[in-house]
């Protein structure tokens, strides 16, 4: 076991904007890919890169994410995505797993809120076989009842086990407290109650309605040339059939905006630390505030010397990690702040967080800080697009949000010109003052008195079903 100086960012709830952060470069950040359009209408972006004998494949299927689920079938998007990989008309689940593992390949399908995403990575010599298996999964899934039963049991048990890890559990509770009944509040893993009700019909119905080539975008990056790739794509992904019926409406209703404070305390009697997530409205993908928001967040809670980390960790040793981050979707966004500390310090920690939020909104950031944020984002951006997988992921994400492959060049160009006023404006718009959702998981007997001054808390107990 290795101990790191900094925790890896925990962003399970959030969809990252892409590579998080650059420098002014002569050339583009993202090489221009070739565009291949298959006979069934599917678009695939291709970039050859032969540094290592590997190939990465990524695909997004718009509208096949958790926000498209019927309320009664919470969790069906990710369940369907996983079951696609558990057997096809040609191979059962064991045979699929054996074929993939034998190649040392990774392959999976999962649901985000707005889309399902397919990923596959393999040695170049095995890529044709990987793509054949991926196509079988996407086109001819078996949806065997026994596999649904296995996956259902696994997920229900996984949800129970997550409650032993307060750092993970607090994010589930937060998602429910913030989004409520809005489709963005659907837990990708489902709930015990929704999973109990799931049938093969529910899962297959979701798949048939939402897995469409006209809603999908794919990218292939790595050690494969166009002459070999095109026929391979036609005989694999080219088999996805475009349904005669029009695609269902994929629009997601506007996100809820907290009015006043929503305070939720979850009692975990054996916890020795208290964990919190604080959230408020953020900004949508492509919003003009993106660059300013990114620099503001860098200074406020996005890097080691950020205000939050300086006050809570560096100066006071209250925590191993604290961060603020932005989740962005087409329909809107979320600003969130999270950390943890000893039970008896949670009041002090929250006081400091709220003090820093007030300071950022009222005073903004200095010229030297702003320069540091610019340098930091410009310096950290290029290595974020080194791997085949990161490039392929960027192509499909940018195409999905209709941002253009020069998005990062424009973004970094804007970063390079940012001045303090823009960061203050971003803080005023994005950092919460009076309207927010705050969820704390900890030992209620010990932390309740420390939290009382923030207002009236709705209390839950961690052993109760659901979140």
């Amino acid at each position: 076991m290795r101990r790191f100086r900094r925790a890896a960012p925990v962003l399970a709830l959030l969809v990252a904007i892409g590579p998080a952060a650059g420098r002014l470069l002569a050339g583009p950040q993202l090489p221009s890919p070739a565009k291949i359009v298959l006979r069934n209408g599917l678009t695939i972006y291709h970039l050859r890169s032969a540094d290592v004998p590997l190939v990465s494949f990524r695909m997004l299927i718009g509208g096949a994410g958790s926000a498209a689920e019927p309320a009664a079938a919470e969790g069906v998007a990710d369940l369907a995505a996983t079951l696609l990989t558990k057997g096809t008309s040609k191979m059962d689940a064991n045979a699929v797993a054996e074929a993939l593992d034998f190649m040392g390949a990774t392959f999976g399908i999962g649901a985000a809120e707005e889309y399902a995403q397919v990923y596959g990575d393999s040695l170049a010599q095995h890529f044709p076989r990987l793509l054949e298996i991926a196509a079988d999964a996407l086109v001819e899934p078996a949806f065997a009842p026994a596999e649904l039963e296995k996956e259902r049991a696994l997920r229900i048990d996984g949800l129970k086990a997550a409650k032993d890890n307060p750092g993970a559990a607090v994010r589930y509770y937060f998602q429910k407290a913030y989004f409520g009944a809005h489709p963005m509040g659907h837990l990708a893993d489902g709930t015990e109650a929704s999973l109990e009700k799931m049938t093969v019909g529910t899962v297959e119905g979701f798949y048939r309605a939402h897995y469409r080539p006209d809603r999908a975008i794919a990218a292939v990056v790595g050690d494969i040339d166009a002459a070999a790739l095109k026929p391979l794509l036609e005989r694999t992904l080219g088999r996805m059939v475009r349904p005669a019926a029009a695609a269902p409406d994929a629009a997601i209703p506007s996100l809820p905006r907290p009015s006043g404070k929503t305070l939720v305390l979850v009692d975990k009697p054996d916890a020795t630390q208290a964990y919190f997530v604080l959230g408020a409205p953020g900004f949508a993908m492509g919003d003009k505030i993106t660059a300013a928001a990114s620099a503001m967040n860098t200074l406020f809670g996005g890097r080691f010397t950020s205000w939050l980390n300086t006050e809570l960790r560096i100066k006071r040793g209250l925590t191993y990690g604290v961060r603020s981050s932005a989740g962005n979707w087409a329909v809107g966004g979320l600003t969130s702040i999270s950390s943890y500390t000893k039970n008896d310090k949670i009041g002090e920690m929250l006081d400091i967080v709220f003090g820093l939020l007030r300071k950022a909104r009222s005073e903004g950031f200095g010229a030297e800080e702003t320069e540091s944020a610019r340098n930091y984002i410009l310096g950290q951006f290029p290595p974020s697009l080194q791997t085949n997988g990161s490039k392929a992921g960027a192509y499909v994400r940018l195409a999905f949000y209709k941002r253009g492959f020069d998005e990062y060049d424009r973004y970094l160009d804007e970063i390079g010109r940012l001045q303090p006023a823009a960061l203050k404006a971003a803080a005023e718009r994005l950092l919460p003052q009076d309207d927010y959702v705050l969820v704390v998981v900890g030992k209620a007997a010990e932390i309740r008195p420390l939290l009382a001054k923030y207002g009236a808390w709705r209390e839950k107990t961690i052993s109760d079903p659901g979140f």
Binding site: M1, R2, R3, F4, R5, A7, R23, L25, D51, V52, P53, L54, A93, A97, E98, L100, D101, F102, M103, G104, A105, F107, D121, H126, K150, A153, L154, D157, G158, K160, A161, D164, P166, G167, T272, Q273, R303, F304, T305, R313, I314, R316, G317, L318, T319, Y320, K342, E371, S372, N375, Y376, L378, G379, Q380, P382, P383, L385, Q386, T387, S463
Partner: protein, 441 residues
Amino acid sequence: MRKRACLLVLALAVLALSLPAALTKDDVKVRTLGNGLKVLLVEDHGVPSVALYTFFRVGSRNERPGLTGVSHFIEHMMFNGTPKIGPGEFDRRMEFRGGSNNAYTGDDFTAYTDWFPPAALEAIIEMEADRIQGLAFVPEVFESERGVIASERRLGVDNDNDSLLAETVRATAIMAHPYHWDVIGWMSDILSWRRDEVMAYYRTYYAPGNAVLVVVGDIDPVRTMALIEKYYGPVPASPAPPPVATVEPPQLGPKTVLMRKEAQAPSFRVVWHGPSVKDPDYLPLAILAKPLLEGESSRLYRRLVREEELAISVYGGIAETIDPQLFTIEVKPRPGADLDRIERTIEEELAKVRASGIAPQELDKALNIIRADFYQGLQTVAGKANQIGAAEVLYGDFARLFTMMDDYAAVKVDRVKEAAGKYLVEANKTVGRLVPEGGAK
């Protein structure tokens, strides 16, 4: 889809013949300064970025009771000020110049990992050379960082049942060697480290002769070597640190751990003493770990998770360490699962391996997994720096990186069976269970 074992972070294996043109042994420029600092440079202009990694041969293996966790604490204190650069200034300067960093401490070594744009190279080298020549250990900063480590321990161990069990099983299986304790250290030691003892420990291990500096990325090797000479050259040489003398005595019978704690789901783990990375039995056991534990087609995943539905997940493998450590199987049981049945199932599968070994097809599968993992790690300047440095420290020679797969490919399938029969046996085993308070539900 494939579950990767978290124990085997390095995955050093590769076939020398099939190494990509992107990195060969000849691409690594090697120099040892007069004070003993070993420098390894690789020019790579793929992105305008540099990875500068410093490895010190110090980890929890060098600690003693009372000072457990101190290697990791010093890793944190390395960012908290020197006589020349004030507390917090290292990070402020690095981030101002567009760089970022992290660091990690393991059983055998501590690594400092910097990523920055090429223009920052001289400033970073100057700061890195400064902090191996003495730390301030400002008393208030020392206390604050102690609090950070205590929080890290509460997060990573005390509030995480699987980790709590892992710590106890490790300490039960290994009784004499310093691998007895986890890198984080015992809480009572964390709360009582003394400044003078910590400073003495730092002086012993943070010396140029005990370090390896790896720079990979958008650099001019000649200029980079000159800068390293300029800033590191004047650092005086120090005596070599004392060797780790303790040898773990053989285990002569099975051990068991039972913990009771409030929990929704139990935890389960079983370990056996294993060989060191340089032992001829290491590679056969590293190979065995793939068909036994890695991926949904692995023998134990299939039985425990898919067929008998006793577990949510199963991971494991052989620790990649300088001294002999552990082969681990970690199972996340379903809530209410019969832990005895999990243990019996593992034992049945191991009995098959001891009797019949693995199939040739499973050997090929292991080699494919190892190759794919290796190349994944070579896609970035950071990944290259990490693999080169870790090979130098663990094997005593970075060039091992370029021949390892010859060794893997040369492993005869029968050697897997022999190694399993030697190590994965009852007398050498420690089984740990954490059951929800009041008994397994």
